[in-house]
């Protein structure tokens, strides 16, 4: 299942990862490698812990067992300061709700990481911020406050902010949810464009099969804590895994049953007499 990615060097490797949330097991011996410089879409039914996977790569959650390697360094074993160093220089993440600072305007939001992490002059910061804002097409909105922006614009500002420090790896958590078709098109173009222009390794968590297939080099399909399919969209669509095909085609019934496991329907109805 990973021959297709063997030609590209892995940027992020998940090895034998087990993760529990409370007593519920989210991952059980998960193994997957994300190739450098490519867009990989991580997909799967709701509740399979796709966001959890991103948070483990970012070091916000630690695996109970196994290793999460970013550039061959185990994120789970890093000290707090090493972790912050890694995030500052190597990683960017776009959150589902964007996480823009509501008390800062667009310009200051994008300038935030630069101001915190660098000693650049005000002029340099201005130039860099305007470059990033231009890349997402919002140079004209720099004075606006987050509350005045539309959902699509908010996500683009957040994107500009997460690439402000020129990361090597960028993670998108559900970047398409709640967007109108035009905004969706813009975000798609941006993700693809950034990947091509900067050679960013992009990890994309999404439910939207069509959109993801448009831009992703690889798909990684998760189900019940395991990878059930990894490959290019075409490979998977024509593959022999019924569950993967069900997911990609959006069939209501199949290997993932329509009915949640339950007792026999007739018996269940009969058992309802009051006692």
């Amino acid at each position: 299942m990973s021959e297709s990615s063997s030609h590209a060097e892995a940027h992020v490797k998940i090895q034998d990862v087990t993760f529990y949330r409370g007593t519920r097991r989210i991952y059980d011996g998960l193994n997957v490698a994300f190739p450098r410089g490519k867009i990989t879409a991580i997909m799967g039914p709701s509740g399979t812990g796709k966001t959890t996977l991103l948070r483990m790569i970012g070091g916000q959650l630690r695996a109970d067992k196994g290793q999460v390697l970013v550039d061959e360094a185990d994120v789970g074993k890093m000290s707090r300061s090493d972790l912050f160093e890694l995030r500052k220089n190597k990683m960017g993440m776009l959150f589902q709700t964007s996480g823009l600072f509501t008390d800062l305007n667009v310009f200051e939001n994008v300038a935030f990481p630069l101001r915190v992490h660098t000693n650049l002059s005000e002029n340099m910061i201005r130039d860099l911020v305007l470059m990033k804002l231009e890349a997402v097409g919002l140079r004209g909105a720099r004075e606006m406050m987050p509350a005045e922006l539309s959902g699509g614009m908010i996500r683009r500002v957040a994107l500009a902010r997460s690439i402000a420090m020129d990361p090597e790896l960028i993670m998108y958590d559900e970047p398409f949810t709640g967007l109108d078709p035009i905004s969706m098109g813009m975000i798609l173009r941006l993700i693809k464009g950034l990947n091509e222009a900067l050679g960013l390794t992009s990890l994309l968590v999404s439910h939207d099969v069509d959109e993801s297939c448009q831009i992703a080099d690889y798909l990684c399909i998760l189900s019940e804590g395991k990878v059930i399919g990894f490959g290019t969209p075409d490979e998977l669509r024509n593959g022999d895994n019924a569950e993967v095909r069900q997911f990609l085609n959006g069939d209501p019934d199949g290997p993932v049953p329509f009915h949640y496991p339950a007792a026999d329907y007739r018996e269940d109805l009969m058992a309802g007499d009051p006692s």
Partner: protein
């Protein structure tokens, strides 16, 4: 039966774990410095939103409390023919007890709840996570300046509460009830001790400031990232910190007076 014992046990374990998390938060955020640490300006901004914005409620409340104390005190003391002790009574009550305690309770309602809601909202809108992923430690950036602003602000607010209260008492005693102005002040000056009464009261306020702010930032930071969770956390902040202030007040008073 077994179910309820199990629930009780779980609640116990949860609250111990919660205290552990609160302790961890305190240790990590009480010192300055670290990835993306807040600067002096952030600190100033927080003193503004925590302290300056609580000023009006503190001053108004202090004035009324002082007036009521003088009115009640006058009516009691006049029966014993010792209205000259009114100034002493008003000032000692305010400096030792009501100043720090009332200021802390008002502070919990005004600034504490606002802190919890603000931090809870930052968490729910993933601003804290975003910060973390930008290599900025939210504990150092967000919590530290707020914690210190609370520690610094409450003693000042308590002091202002007492001051306004004493002058409010003077207003009632001297201007409304016609007490001789010198009797109000000179008796007070003879009895009130700067270190014993003023400084010990300030120390109480310092402790309350620390505890109330700590509870507020912890509840915000640990809240469920939903609007319902933030609402619950805000209520918890006010309830827990009010009780903590009253309980601690007894302990501190007992230790300071050395009577118990």
């Amino acid at each position: 039966m077994i179910e309820s014992i199990r629930n009780l046990g779980r609640a116990g374990v949860d609250s111990v774990a919660s205290m552990g998390r609160a302790g961890n938060l305190f240790v990590q955020s009480i010192t300055w410095g670290g990835p993306g640490s807040a600067g002096f300006l952030d600190f100033i901004r927080q003193i503004h939103s925590v302290g300056v914005r609580s000023l009006s409620i503190i001053v108004v409340a202090g004035f009324f409390v002082g007036m009521v104390l003088a009115l009640q005190g006058y009516n009691i003391l006049i029966k014993f023919g010792s209205v000259s002790a009114l100034g002493t009574m008003v000032s000692l009550t305010l400096l030792r007890e009501l100043g720090p305690v009332m200021a802390a309770l008002l502070f919990a309602g005004r600034a504490g709840s606002a802190l919890t809601a603000e931090i809870g909202l930052m968490k729910a809108t993933e601003q804290l996570s975003a910060m973390e992923m930008m290599g900025v430690d939210p504990l150092k950036r967000v919590i530290t300046p707020r914690l210190w602003a609370g520690i610094i602000s409450l003693p000042i607010l308590a002091l202002l509460f007492s001051t306004v209260g004493i002058w409010g008492g003077a207003f009632v005693a001297v201007d409304m009830l016609g007490l001789y102005d010198g009797a109000y002040w000179s008796n007070m000056q003879n009895t009130v001790m700067f270190t014993e009464d003023v400084l010990k009261g300030l120390f109480k306020a310092l402790v309350f400031g620390l505890v109330v702010t700590w509870i507020a930032v912890y509840q915000g930071y640990d809240s469920e990232p939903t609007s319902e969770g933030i609402g619950k956390a805000t209520t918890k902040t006010v309830v827990i910190s009010s009780l903590a202030v009253l309980g601690l007040d007894f302990i501190l008073t007992a230790v300071m007076l050395g009577g118990v």
